[in-house]
Each structure stands twice: as structure tokens, then as C-alpha cells.
Amino acid sequence: MATIASAPAHSAAKSENPDGIWSWITTVDHKRIGQLYLYTAMFFFIWGGVEAAIIRAQLAKPNMGLVSADFYNQLFTMHGTTMVFLAIMPLSAAFFNYLIPLQIGARDVAFPRLNAFSYWVYLFGGIFISLPILFQVAPDGGWFGYAPLTTQPYSPEINIDFWVIGLQILGVASLAAAFNFITTIINMRAPGMTLMRMPMFTWMSFVVQFLVVLAFPVITIALIFLMFDRVFGSTFFSVSAGGDPLRWQHLFWIFGHPEVYILILPAFGLVSEILPTHSRKPLFGYPVMVYSGILIGFLGFGVWAHHMFSVGMGPVADTVFSLTTMLIAIPTGVKIFNWIFTMWGGQIRFTSAMLFSIGLIAIFTIGGISGIMHSSPPADLQQTDTYFVVAHFHYVLFGGAIMGIYAGVYHYFPKITGRFMDETQGKWHFWTNFIGMNLTFFPMHFSGLLGMPRRIYTYDAGQGWDTFNMLSTIGTVIIILSTLIFLWNFLRSRNNGAIAGGNPWDAPSLEWSIPSPPPEYNFKNIPQVTSRYPLWDLNHPEMSAGAEHATVDAAQAASAHASPLRIETETMTAKEAGIPMPVNTAKPILAAFLMCAMLSGLLFFKNGSMTIAMILMVGGALAFAGTMYAWLYAPLEEEH
């Protein structure tokens, strides 16, 4: 492990921007925005986890009275909403931001200011939708908000309004980010970085952005229908006007199913980076891994109604959606086996990152298999809306997405901070997490098949569910302890971890060719890429013998503003390096704030003062337009 003991752990001091809070508020640097995403999303993960902990405490024993029925309903609604939209998606976004430009050899994303805007919209939207639970007025319609329960006659209070408006705000953040990353990946790759040389994380992120771009408009429209119904009295889901509740369900799940792959594919990408590195072997079947990722994304648009097997769609529709759902097992299975055979014949180092990656393979498979059990409609009629489903999706979400993200954190922490996380604590974290999660979620398979419905705030004694629920709650306690170990390790290692060099894991991709943490301009010289594993080519010529890779055509490199790849160890400021960088600006945060203010006007329009509503909506819209105007006319980089 090449460590440069003398290198400063933080190159931030070398930045042109002083490291104060203002520099973070105005930053347009993808690495800083990535970190903002990371910290914010970790906060919301704990927030959603505390909600889950209260849920589990209430369900520990039958007929408990810890929380009221109404508050419980807010808890599970916000737990699901928080985990999906405020924790996992932004955790993935943290990695998109931090890694994509580094992995493709770019100095930033295509639209750095839009990137900052996305983050701030996410933050404000997250606060908007999360705060109400402190006052017990949080959304309480479940994370999929089925109409007509969520319409005005059945939910007249303000609760659902927070959800409807909040999710639309968050949608803007995701969409803006997706357009940004699509453009970045298509257009900002270093010379020679062909699509089929892109690191697998970038590939999976690329697929995810398309899922976002195609899935989010659908939920936006569904939410707008619901909002119009609630605020302006339209009749989309009104029972008396003949509205069809299934319309909502279809629209929601056309979004909802691709959404679950939005949650898992980034974790798949991270694991596909980690396994080869820590086994010292290239990814097994790279092209197939790419195609299977694309196929999972594509098929993901044709399976949505498997969430609706109990609504009575008729045998033909049930059959079609059942078969399309089963198909997804094939590309996913390919990934599982390719990962295993990546390790086969390698030199496996059991680092924390590696443990979590292996954990993902082991645990996600269980969730995938229970997914296949759902995909058979008759069987699903016994499983749907029971704890068996809860078991399924926590296995894929906690055992898949969260495990993958933990793996990513351990793996990339040295790149982000220049220091290692503690490996011993990491191993404790892994094993407690592994045991805790299985203890929490495995018994749910049983409670579900033994008849326990989901979303119940309490249950009666004598139903045969007591033991399983107690086990689940005990498991949650272990997860909490485990998470505390992680948090301690994470926070402490930022300043006290062992110094890591530019490439502490001996990894093959571009982000490891520059110092840790990377300088603000990332690459002093844009590298010319000649293969999938450029750093292994450079450092271990023996590893790449026989592999496909092009030679650098010097003239081609020069004409393309690139130079042959070399390991950079020096960190200087962008000015010293003579690299023009985007200037910091507060316009994105201002625009984000104004947009949220504008949308929250609707809240007052329906529930409060018309004057405040008008001030917020009209004033917000005008100020927003002004800000956008100033934004678009201000140059990105300093004029020179």
C-alpha cells in the first residue's frame, strides 16, 4: 500500500476558496456537493432509522401503547418516504457527484451550478417534508399514498399536503441532477474513455439517470393530479365524480418500480468497483455486466403492476406482469454470478469494504428470491400487504442498497478525506450489522406468512406473531448499536484515521491516480485513457498482459487536450495550476430557496392565509425568475 506519509491529509487548505461555511454554501465543486449530499443523507438515514426504531418499539409486544394510531401511521409513512427519497437516493447522489467526474477523467460535471441547485433543492425539500413529524402533523398516507385515502374528503388535514408538495420539490432535485449526469457522462469523458471502458459505477449511474428521467415525470403528474384534487377541487381521484383509484396506483407504480432499481443499481455499481480491486482481478464479464444493468433498467418499466396483484386486474394482466417480473431474475442473477466469479481465483482481502460487498451478494440474493416469490400472483395474494413484503424489501434495500453504500463509504473514505477508516471498528460494524439486520428482517418472513398484515400500529395477543416481533425488535437494537459504531468510526477517522495515499487500495480506475483528497481541479492533466483498468496497466504491466487496450496515439492525445496518464501526487490551487475553475456563487441556493418558497405557497393557499400564499407564490415566482435570469447571464468561470 503506497502511502505518502508526509502529504497533508487535507488539501482543502490549498483551495482558493477559504474553507468557511460560506464557501460551502456557494460551492459549485462536485466534490464538495458530493460531501454535502453524503452528510445530509446520513442525517436523514438516522432520522428515518429513529422512526423505524419507534415503530419496532411499538411492535415489540402485542397491544403496546407507546404511540397513538395516528402517530404510528405518520411514522411508517415518513420512515418509508425518508429512507427512499431522503436517505438512499441522496446517498447514491453523493457518490454520483463525487465519483462520476473523477472516474471519467473530468474536472467537474457538465453544469456545476445546476448541480449545486439540485443539492439545495433536496435539502430544502427534505426539511419541508421532515419537520412536520415533530409536530405530529406529518404525512400519513403510506409511502405510496393511495387515493382516495389521500384525497381531500378522507384526509382533510394538512398532513398529506406536505407529502404532495414535498415530493414534487424532491423530484425537481432528482430530475435536474439526472439531466446533469447524463450530459456529464456522455460528454465529459476524458479522451479514450469509451463507453465500454467506463468504470462500472459510472455505468450503473448512467442507467439510473435514465430511470430517473423516465420515472419521475410520471409521479410528478400523479402528484399534480392529487394536488389539484386537494387544492383546486379537481376530480381525478374523487370517488363521487367517478375517479378511478387504480389510476393512481398505476401511475405511482410506473414510477415506483423503476424507483427501486434507482435505489439498488448505484449500490451494484459500487460493489462492482470494490470486488475487483480487493480481489486483484478484473471484473468478470464486464460487457455482460453492462448489458445486464441496462436490461434490468429497461425491464423495470414493464413490471409495475406486480404491486397490484390483489386489485383484480384479471388473469391476463396478472400473467403478463408476472412473467415480465420473473424475467428480471435473469440479468440480476448474471450479476450475482459474475461478482462471485470475479473473486474466484483472486486474492481476496477482507477489508470492511469487501465484507460489505460480499454481504450484499449474500443478503440481496435472499431479497431477490423473495421477490420472485412475490412475482407469482397466486402466491403473492397470500403475501402482499403482509410482513413478508416488508421482509422482502428490507432485504433488498437494507441488505442491498445500504450494504452497498456502506461498502462504498469504506472504500472511498480515503479518497474523500485522505485518511482510512478504522478497519477493526469496520469489522465490528459489519458483523453487528449483518447479525442485526438478519435478526430484524428474517423473522418478518414468518410473521408475514403466518398472517401479520403490514402497517398495523398494534396487534392482538395470541395471533402467533409475538416471538417474531420480539426478535425483530431485538435485531433493531443491534442495528442501532452497529450504526453507532459506524458513526463513531466515520466521524473520528476524518481527522484521526491513518493517512491514505492517492491509491491506497491499489485500484485500477482514474479517481485513484490523483491525490487524496483530490485537488479542486481533479486532474492537472486530462489523462488519455487506453483501457478499462488504466492504473493497473501503469502500475502492474503484468496484470494487463493479453487484455484489450489501445496504445496512446501521441498526436491524438495532444489534439484532444489530453496527455498520457500519470500518477499525480502534487496538490496545488487551481490558480497555481493555471486551470480555470467555475466561480462560487450563491445563486443556486437562492434559486432553490425561492422555488421551495413558491411551492410552499400552495400549502397556505389551501390551509391558511390567502395573503401569505399570494406573497409566497407570486413573489417567489418573480424572485425566482429574476434569480434564474441573473444566473443564466453570469459566466460560469471568471472572465479571462
Binding site: T183, P191, I224, T235, A241
Partner: protein, 212 residues
């Protein structure tokens, strides 16, 4: 400044096309909701057939006015033509123009004006249509037809409005410093957006207005 891009294409144009792709899902959701809800309203008025209120005996005429909408659809179509000519005018600003037609064709201001005015008159038609429907008893709240119709066409109208504003800012630049061939990619963005909005109307016109 000149930055290397992988494909040599304009970043903004890639983002815009991705955005247009995304809009397909947006309008797809809106249009399919309209179609699915068609014929399911509990009370009238209806798009293509008159309706008598059984309670009051009041007769509501069929709502949609094909001649007017044909005119407005035509107007929007022509705005697309003007738009493409505006783009050509900017792109080939430096071409020697001698004939009268050549000079007309080469005037970016003229064609931008034409696009904006045609777009604005489409919006005029739409507000006329909305008011007329309102007076005939169709509102957002009235029935499923009203809800889905106003939301769909309203969304489209909002897109047109945004496009008009965008084009107006281009026109302002044209007056301020003259749009040059180097601005063509920037104009192209607005043009692509504008044409897409037109294309959506082509579908709406057929699927909503002409099919009963």
C-alpha cells in the same frame, strides 16, 4: 475558452434532448389519463356530445370546438415553420443575401417575431377556448373530463408560455447585439424545445379533439 467534450456536441443540447425524452413520459401520463377517463364522467358536459342535466333539464352543448382548434393548431404549426426559419437565419447570418426573398429569409428578427406572435396567438386561442368552455359549464371541478382536459391542455399551454418567454429573451439579444452564427446552438435549444411543444400539440389535436 474552449473545453474538450467527448462527442464534440454541445452539453446543453444533450441535456435538452434528455429533457425532451423526459417530457415524453410527462405528456404520456397526461394524455393517457385523459384517454382513460374519457367517457367516464358522471355528469356532463362532454367533449363531443351534448348533455342534458337530468336534474335541471339544462342542455349543455358538446364542448370541443373543432374549427377554432383547427385554427389554433394551424397557428402553432406555422410558428414551428417560423422557428425553423429563424434558426436558419441565425445560422446563416453571414451568407451573402441579395434577393428580396433572401433578405427576408435572412432576417432572424422577423422570424423570431413571427414565432413569438404565432405562439402568443395560440395562447390567445387557448384562453378564448378556456373561457368559452367555462361559460358552457366546464370547469376543472366539474367532472373527470374537465379535470383531465384542463390539466392536459393547461400543461401544454404553460409549456408554450415558457417557450414564448424564452424566444423573447433571444429576440432581446438579437436587438441588443445581433444574433450571430456562433449563437446558432443557443437558438437551436429554444427551437428544439419549441418544435417539441408543437409536436405534442399535434398528438393532442388528434387524440383529444378529433377522436371521439
Amino acid at each position: 475558452m474552449s473545453h474538450y467534450t467527448t462527442t464534440g456536441l454541445d452539453n446543453r443540447k444533450i441535456a435538452l434532448w434528455a429533457f425532451i425524452g423526459s417530457e415524453c413520459m410527462l405528456f404520456g401520463s397526461l394524455i393517457s389519463t385523459y384517454l382513460v377517463y374519457k367517457g367516464r364522467s358522471v355528469v356532463g358536459p362532454f367533449p363531443h356530445t351534448p348533455w342534458t342535466d337530468p336534474a335541471t333539464g339544462q342542455v349543455y352543448p358538446a364542448i370541443l370546438d373543432i374549427p377554432v382548434t383547427t385554427a389554433s393548431a394551424f397557428v402553432l404549426l406555422m410558428s414551428s415553420v417560423a422557428m425553423v426559419l429563424a434558426y436558419e437565419a441565425v445560422k446563416f447570418k453571414n451568407l451573402p443575401r441579395t434577393t428580396t426573398w433572401g433578405k427576408i429569409a435572412g432576417s432572424s428578427k422577423l422570424w423570431l417575431w413571427a414565432t413569438i406572435l404565432l405562439g402568443a396567438s395560440f395562447l390567445g386561442f387557448q384562453s378564448y377556448e378556456f373561457t368559452a368552455f367555462y361559460h358552457e359549464g366546464l370547469t376543472l371541478k366539474r367532472n373527470l373530463f374537465g379535470s383531465s382536459f384542463f390539466t392536459l391542455t393547461g400543461f401544454h399551454g404553460a409549456h408554450v408560455t415558457l417557450g414564448v418567454l424564452w424566444l423573447m429573451s433571444l429576440l432581446a439579444i438579437d436587438y441588443k447585439r445581433g444574433l450571430q452564427p456562433s449563437d446558432a446552438p443557443t437558438v437551436d435549444l429554444a427551437a428544439l424545445y419549441w418544435h417539441f411543444v408543437d409536436v405534442v400539440w399535434i398528438l393532442i389535436f388528434t387524440l383529444v379533439y378529433l377522436i371521439e
